[in-house]
């Protein structure tokens, strides 16, 4: 099985980081995986995106023309990739900064969650809005095991960032809950 997802947002929202964590968790599950960031002109324009591909066999192209899923942290990120998600695919959208109505497709599953509000108001942890979205994405897609992702956190974070593990875990759990209960 091959699962590919594009994650897009503004530079600084941590879209490359959640891609990195997803890829890391998949590697720890023993899967093949690639993480391909956009760089250069896109980075300089203030937008960021990456493609993560997870597979049970050797991965060819690390880029995806029609991904199975999109994580949109921002409206420009949503606009840039909304047409490319394959029919039957999944879009997880940060409704704090992107409008799910603008997807204008009925052949994909759309999950919207106000990640910035959740992270800021509920968790008092605005930087982890990206992790709230990742938690919802992993739960909805099953791309990797949620528990394995939590277990990977300490190995994923460098020694000087270990103190962040608890907050990330809480944000991932909150995203999972939202995906399960719709609020």
């Amino acid at each position: 099985m091959l699962y590919d997802v594009i994650m897009a947002g503004f530079g600084g929202q941590g879209v490359l980081l959640i891609g990195d964590l997803l890829a890391f968790a998949a590697m720890r599950e023993g899967r093949q995986v690639t993480w391909m960031p956009a760089y250069g002109v896109e980075m300089r324009g203030g937008a960021a995106n990456c493609t993560v591909i997870i597979s049970d066999r050797k991965i060819g192209s690390p880029l995806s023309v029609e991904p199975a899923a999109l994580i949109a942290m921002s409206q420009p990120g949503l606009v840039k990739f909304r047409e490319r998600v394959r029919p039957g695919g999944l879009m997880v959208i940060n409704t704090s900064l992107a409008d799910p109505e603008s997807v204008a497709r009925n052949d994909v599953e759309v999950v919207g969650l106000p990640a910035n509000e959740i992270a800021t108001e509920e968790l008092n942890d605005p930087k982890n809005a990206n992790m709230v979205v990742l938690g919802a994405f992993i739960t909805k897609s099953g791309a990797v095991s949620f528990e394995k992702t939590l277990d990977s956190l300490s190995a994923f974070l460098p020694p000087e960032r270990q103190r962040l593990a608890e907050g990330i875990a809480r944000a991932l759990q909150r995203g999972k809950l939202f995906a399960q209960e719709g609020r």
Binding site: G30, Q32, V33, T34, P37, G40, V41, S61, P62, V65
Partner: protein, 349 residues
């Protein structure tokens, strides 16, 4: 299973250099290869090595020449325009038979060009690049694991043949992260009795590329030619994914070869019989394997991220009458698997 770690291509390459025993790095910044010096500026000194940000690419390559003449394993890295500036030094090193590793994480060109992935430097890399009758050993990794493995192999081949080695990558390979298994095995090393280590207790010796005496330059050229012949015989590397009843063979290297893997999988799902050939050494070019496959398969498709450079080597390699087509995307454009599949179908019409 050995432990896999997630590394960026540029970092895997830098780690490969350290594993190979490289303890001297000289370089000048240029996108998209800055992750290599960034990593080495931290880790080279930690492992007892020397990291120098030189004042220019010309200075870098000549520092490399000096380190290599002293017998050290040394490396520089750059991109397109910077590599062009290094050509004089590379020619001198090939002429002086000095081993080194030079990394080119390409930019599209000509000129200052762009920073997106490209294979526009194939011609420069495989034809020597500088003046005179010489070649570089050119290695083309296609995965992050190969960014690590082929860098180690590069240092070994450089010493084995006393010749500069170029690792030819692009921004996809440099920026992408994949799981990598680091190796425990020690790299192969070679005695360097020719190295300039100070003449104490032995006769002074000379490393040079100047041959003015009657006939001696020709002798030197034939010596180099014999070396390249032996290199082709012993160390040509190629990956062949062969279908014994193939109707077409697709040739690509580096990042482009990854996209071809996806295209070939799609073609095979449709029942198309297709073989896949991936040159790993671009010089020496795997002409023998291409010839062998072409004697059974009448159609070839070469896929390149340039306007068509390797295709000339493919055409020179195939059996007479073999139809060699080209799918070319220059200037930072990347072919999609769907586009390659369409080209395969068209070739078989």
């Amino acid at each position: 299973m050995e432990e896999r770690i997630m590394l960026k291509g540029s970092v895997a390459l830098a780690e490969g250099a350290l594993t190979a025993g490289c303890r001297y790095y000289f370089g000048y910044p240029i996108t998209p290869q800055n992750d290599i010096p960034e990593y080495l500026s931290l880790h080279m000194p930690e492992r007892g090595g020397v990291f120098i940000q030189a004042e220019s690419e010309v200075a870098s390559i000549n520092m490399l020449l000096g380190a290599a003449a002293a017998g050290a394993r040394a490396m520089t890295s750059s991109s397109g325009p910077g590599i062009s500036l290094m050509q004089e030094g590379l020619s001198y090193m090939a002429g002086s038979e000095l081993p080194c590793v030079v990394v080119n994480i390409t930019r599209s060109g000509p000129g200052l060009g762009g920073i997106s992935p490209t294979q526009g430097d194939y011609k420069q890399a495989t034809c020597g690049g500088g003046h005179g009758d010489y070649y570089l050993i050119v290695l083309a990794p296609s995965s992050v694991q190969e960014m690590y493995d082929l860098t180690i192999r590069g240092f070994e081949l450089a010493d084995k043949y006393r010749n500069p080695v170029m690792i030819l990558g692009d921004a996809i390979l440099g920026q992408m992260k994949e799981p990598v298994t680091l190796r425990d095995a020690k790299p192969v090393t070679y005695d360097k009795p020719w190295a300039l280590t100070g003449p104490k207790g032995r006769k002074p010796q000379l490393v040079k590329s100047l041959y003015l005496k009657d006939g001696e330059m020709e002798v030197h050229n034939w010596k180099l030619a014999e070396k390249y012949r032996r290199l082709a015989e012993e160390d040509t590397m190629v990956e062949v994914d062969e279908d014994a009843d193939a109707d077409i063979a697709v040739v690509a290297y580096g990042s482009c070869a990854r996209i071809v893997i996806s295209a070939v999988e799609m073609a095979r799902e449709e029942g198309i019989r297709v073989s896949r050939i991936r040159p790993i050494t671009l010089y020496p070019f795997p002409s023998g394997e291409i010839r062998r496959v072409s004697e059974k398969v009448g159609r070839f498709l070469t896929v390149e991220m340039n306007t068509g450079q390797m295709v000339r080597d493919v055409r020179l390699s195939v059996a007479p009458g073999c139809d060699v087509r080209l799918l070319a995307r220059p200037g930072g454009a990347i072919p999609t698997p769907q586009q390659i599949l369409a080209e395969i179908r068209k070739a078989l019409e």
